[in-house]
Amino acid sequence: MHPIMGQDESDYSAMIVLIAEERDRHAFATLFRHYAPRIKGFALKSAPDPAMADELVQDTMLAVWRAAPTYDPRRASATTWIFTICRNKRIDLFRRRSRPEADPPEEGDWVMQATQEDSAEIGTAFRRTRALMKELPTEQADVLRMSFLEDKPHRTIAAETGLPLGTVKSRIRLALATLRQRLEQ
């Protein structure tokens, strides 16, 4: 597989599957070139420490290689899955504690089966989420982005923005409620 310009989410999903099934190093290199600068940019948002940011890139991408067999393209887009790995590795690295994770669902869990989406639907959901986030009032979208970008509790966001804690919480709550409601439509 050769890296080509203008790849989209489903191409990156396919590469994760290639890594899972064939331990394909070329697919890994393509993913790495796309995601490494973004992961570093993401890391620098929570701590302005380039050495830590480089570590987060390495930790995340090695975990992508290792965990590829657990990736299910019907459940998450490539970027969303890589975000979850990056988020967890950031918690490991910066807080030196691992994040408590739920047990994997039981085989044959009826709710999981009932909502099993295909990878095309997952791509659509990703694009819709992006579009809906753009429609949010700026004041809500800003604190929502901060809560995902920066590994910080709401009270830290409040301190940084100078907003009262209650305002930060209510803006995030409103943003989440709007997204959930519109995504279900």
Binding site: F32, F42, A63, F83, R95, P100, S147
Partner: protein, 219 residues
């Protein structure tokens, strides 16, 4: 689903998806998610926001080829994913934090039929404890100075006419005055996480409450 009783609020789910939820609260939530597919799916959908944020973040300057070479040289060391340990009555996230068999922990009695065992926490200002409530026994009537997150590990309790069973999640704040009572038949075990001390409401409770007792002495 998530705004109803017995499930975490959307805010908590969103903060868990974002990664900002304090560790002890994340532990209580992980226990809930281990048995609640609806909230697990809600978290998966919320994680899409993180995907969009990662996609939109301005890429940082990086010597990509050097970093890639370093990663490629380490791929051989990247071990396969940890397999989930054998099936237990309790989620793995909890088992990692509880030193051994629940029944054999050094429980500390706090009221008739109620005992607690404090877990280590890794977040300033938070306390996490396991509660053991005998069938029919109740936690003294109290309210909260901060937030409390409770997840049921075994058995059930009744709080203001809502029955919380294994895996159910309850949130309480200073507006709530309550007296949870364990259901008959089975010992109820819970994990309770707080970020401020409780405030006992009964006359005897008030005598037991050091902060209030101190205030009384000053009057």
């Amino acid at each position: 689903m998530s705004d109803q009783h017995r499930h975490p609020s959307l805010e908590i789910l969103g903060d868990y998806a974002a990664g900002g939820l304090p560790e002890p609260v994340a532990l209580a939530l992980a226990v809930h998610l281990s048995s609640c597919s609806a909230c697990r799916i809600a978290v998966q959908r919320l994680e899409t926001i993180g995907g969009v944020v990662l996609d939109d973040v301005p890429p940082a300057a990086l010597d990509t080829e050097a970093a890639l070479d370093r990663a490629l040289s380490n791929l051989g060391d990247a071990e396969p994913p940890e397999l989930p340990s054998e099936k237990s009555d309790f989620p793995n996230a909890l088992l990692r934090r509880v030193p051994g068999d629940l029944a054999k922990l050094p429980w500390r009695r706090v009221a008739r039929g109620v005992a607690e065992f404090a877990l280590d926490t890794y977040e300033a200002g938070y306390r996490a404890k396991l509660l053991r409530i005998q069938p029919g026994a109740s936690v003294p009537r109290h309210t909260h100075r901060g937030e409390e997150y409770t997840v049921v590990l075994a058995g059930a309790f009744n709080d203001s006419d809502v029955v919380y069973e294994k895996g159910d999640f309850a949130e309480a704040d200073p507006s709530l005055h309550h007296q949870p009572i364990a259901s008959d038949g089975e010992v109820c075990y819970c994990l309770a996480v707080t970020n401020a001390p409780l405030k006992l409401l009964s006359p005897i409770g008030r005598l037991m409450d050091p902060l209030l007792r101190l205030r009384t002495q000053h009057q």
